[in-house]
Amino acid sequence: MRARVFVTLKPSVFDPQGRTIADALQSLGYASVQDVRQGKYFELDLGASSADEARKLATEAADKLLANPVIESYRVEVESS
């Protein structure tokens, strides 16, 4: 079973990398790009027996290690094979 974890900076946290990427896109002519937020993406291959168990495991991993709750939030998706 595979879980996907998307980690992003909280909206209140300035993202200098995202801002720089937005500036780069604008200078490439993409004038409609107003802002970019950069995040992290994790794929977890889990030996879980159910989607619920996989979600629980991935959520625990995100809480404990993958995201820093001071600056980041996360979203978990479970893909059943």
Partner: protein, 244 residues
Amino acid sequence: MKFSIIVFPGSNCDHDAYHAVKHVLGEQAEFVWHKETDLRSTDVVILPGGFSHGDYLRTGAIARFSPVMRPVAAFAERGGPVLGVCNGFQILLESGLLPGAMLRNAGLKFCCEHVHIRVEQADTLFTAACRPGQVLRIPIAHGEGNYFAPSEVIDRLERNRQVVFRYCTPSGEVSAEANPNGSIHGIAGLCNEQRNVVGLMPHPERACEPALGSADGRLLFESVIRSVKTGVFTARESIAWSPQ
């Protein structure tokens, strides 16, 4: 008295700290590998700078789970002096021994230069030999030193006088121009509520001899030596930790 310098895979200021403690200050220094589960007998713990675990995931995020961090946290809890420098500060933040988190420098550049910092609090174990308001010239070398915490945490830190160092001009003025990385309130270093755990981005261990451009960093080491020797902190004892 004995300083324990914790060595993580990727630490690279551990030898600088060892040199400062042993050869400049003339005290005992001992390296402690991050897999150790017991600090044995120690007076001061230093988490040195570097790139523990390659800065993978987030700076300090993996090091905080090293076995040695359990006895380090227990030592801090008992009032033992703990200093985190640069990556060591980042590890203290990730482990929750100090509040907040680090972001990429606002300018996205790795900053490697001498900066000035103002001593805001002279009543911590690592600043007792400083004057309040004293300006120190100490080098920085980091890519992620842009300190961040939610506004209610910043308010609490200011109210409790936990901001120990701020970036400033040579004359001691805190300004946006003097802030190399975008840190909130120009914060360069913090302490915990008990004032025994201090973290800062600048490297005092690299500024202990005039030949290195500044000897201002000695004050932090002299502070903790004085604090321990005069008994402000006297709990020298074996900190044993057994894996559960």
